[in-house]
Amino acid sequence: MSAALQVEGLNRAFGALPVTRDVSLTLERGARRALIGPNGAGKTTLVNLITGALKPHSGRVALNEEDITTLSQADRARRGLARTFQINQLFRGLSVLENLCMTIGERDGHCNNLWRSAGSRRVVIDEALDHLDSLCLTDDALKLVRELPYGRQRLVEIAIALAQKPRVLLLDEPAAGVPSSESHLILDVVAALDPDIAVLIIEHDMDVVFRFAKEITVMVQGAVFTQGTPEEIMNNEQVRAVYLGQKGHQGGRHG
């Protein structure tokens, strides 16, 4: 199997504070890896470095064997790297359907077209509706995103990432802020993802992590603390000490 995503020796500091320290990580094709660690461990920063929202001070990122370290966020996204944000980043003033059509339009390069009407491509609209169908969002298709409850907005966030048809998907706490009565839907979606997509999920809920992940990476203070199978992590005394021991610590979820 070839590596879908390869991160080698990434370093990044904010001023004098090192937030990512020599992080290396490999996602094989179809990987299901969870990234866990206490608050402030640098998980979201790592996602930002991988997607190109932040530039690393040293190190290398490769997507499908291609070095993408110097590429822009958009170029990386067009090569099949998608993410969801920890805090929703949506087109709040547009309808749910438009959010999806926009994504598909950018993915397929339609948005370079200044002349043809956006509404004249039935294929795009149908595909957008298919994505919404699979997340039970069809009824909300014409609602503005800002009119939806937060949990539903969270689903739109995932729908957008899936509509990008990614090869590598980075999920930053997909169920954060969603009432538990609705979070099962999000987690079902995550569990049913195309087995070909390599997925990295940041999650605090250990039940979800152990149900979903085949491999787990633990980060502490900006560095990879350890990685292994769920069993290995569960039985690792040190991990228990730094992280798993802090059960019930679900309050401030800022990674």
Binding site: T51, A53, S72, Q73, A74, D75, R76, A77, R78, A82, R83, F85, Q89, L90, F91, R92, G93, L94, S95, L97, E98, C101, M102, T103, G105, E106, R107, H110, C111, N112, N113, L114, W115, R116, S117, A118, G119, S120, R121, R122, I125, D126, L129, D133, C136, T138, D139, A141, L142, I160, Q164, E182, L185
Partner: protein, 342 residues
């Protein structure tokens, strides 16, 4: 969610069809869209002696429309849009005064190209910035162009401008008349063509992407949109349209001075657009018409204090109709339809 879980196949099909229909039909022309054009044509017959003024209103509509494309749709805040109006105005002015190129229609094309080139170059540099920084940089660009004209007053005519320009008859047949009838129809025709272009752009996938940049630029980056390229593209197009408006300004007035580059001109067009409503296509029509007519009325009423009236109007709009006159109509319309449903 419970509702959609129990929803059967046909209901879902209907919901899909309804959603798709909305997007499929959104770009079609609606009957109400004929209204501003009917008003413009009616004005030609009702107040035939005010057609010179009418031409100026239509020119400002076009100028505001170009600003709507970048401000209302792409969310680019600029205080230097007069730069492109001025480039267009001086392109035809200099061509007529120095090169004896006084054919009006080809002049519009040259003005559009000149303004587009300046728009592309300045946009490529400036559109990396946003907010206040961008505001200052665009303002500085317009001032620099104005001062360049001032520096080479041997060519530009300085602050005295280029008076008494002569343009050839339109299409070689229709000459300028005292009441400006010919030019009114000429400007109206050009506006119609420009509007058709802008409307196509707004409803195109490219136009949608601009809205996306306005709504959430981080998300646009994340879905792979070349944001900077899109912004430069629309800035260039808006510059070209502003250039055409400027060219028409010179042609209808038969003179041009460096005041076209004034900060006043940039600010005025923004006020017009905000007055009418941004991101709505027709906000430019309403805003420019209301502003110009009131300015005309107030300045006759009180030649010294006319700006007070405009100022008061702006305060009222900002306090009670944040989305402009059109936004106010929309809110009232929504209230009425909601009332009906109950």
């Amino acid at each position: 969610m419970a509702a959609s879980d129990v929803m059967n196949g046909t209901d879902r099909g209907l919901a899909r069809e309804r959603a798709a229909e909305y997007l499929l039909s959104r770009h079609r022309f609606r009957v109400a869209e004929a209204l501003p054009w009917l008003v413009a044509i009616a004005a030609f017959f009702i107040v035939p002696d005010r057609m010179t003024f009418g031409s100026q209103v239509l020119i400002m509509v076009m100028f505001a429309l170009s600003l709507d494309l970048i401000l209302g749709y792409a969310g680019i805040v600029t205080l230097g849009h007069a730069a492109f109006f001025g480039i267009g105005a001086y392109t035809v002015g200099l061509a007529a005064a120095r090169l004896q190129w006084s054919e009006p229609i080809s002049g519009l094309f040259v003005a559009a190209i000149a303004a587009a080139i300046v728009g592309f170059i300045t946009g490529w540099f400036l559109l990396r910035y946003r907010g206040l920084t961008l505001l200052m940089l665009t303002l500085a660009t317009a001032i620099m162009l104005q001062e360049t004209g001032n520096l080479r007053s041997d060519i530009s005519g300085g602050y005295d401008g280029l008076p008494g320009l002569m343009f050839k008859p339109l299409l070689g047949a229709f000459d300028y008349d005292l009441y400006g009838h010919t030019y009114y129809l000429y400007v109206l025709a050009v506006l119609a063509v420009v509007f058709y272009f802008v409307r196509r752009i707004v409803y195109s996938p490219f136009g949608q992407a601009l809205t996306g940049i306005r709504e959430n630029v981080r998300r646009m980056h994340a879905i792979g949109s070349p944001v900077h390229r899109r912004l430069v593209a629309v800035y260039t197009i808006a510059a070209a349209i502003a250039g055409v408006a400027g060219a028409l300004f010179t042609q209808t007035n038969a003179y041009v001075t460096l005041t076209v580059f004034d900060f006043d001109n940039s600010a005025k067009v923004m006020v017009m657009l905000i007055l009418g409503g941004t991101g709505r296509l027709y906000g430019a029509f309403v805003g420019a018409a209301v502003y110009m007519v009131l300015e005309d009325y107030f300045s006759k009423l009180s030649p010294t204090f006319w700006q007070f009236g405009i100022g008061l109007l702006l305060v009222l709009v900002v306090l009670f109709a944040r989305r402009g006159v059109l936004g106010l109509f929309e809110s009232v319309g929504e209230l009425l339809t909601k009332g009906k449903k109950r």
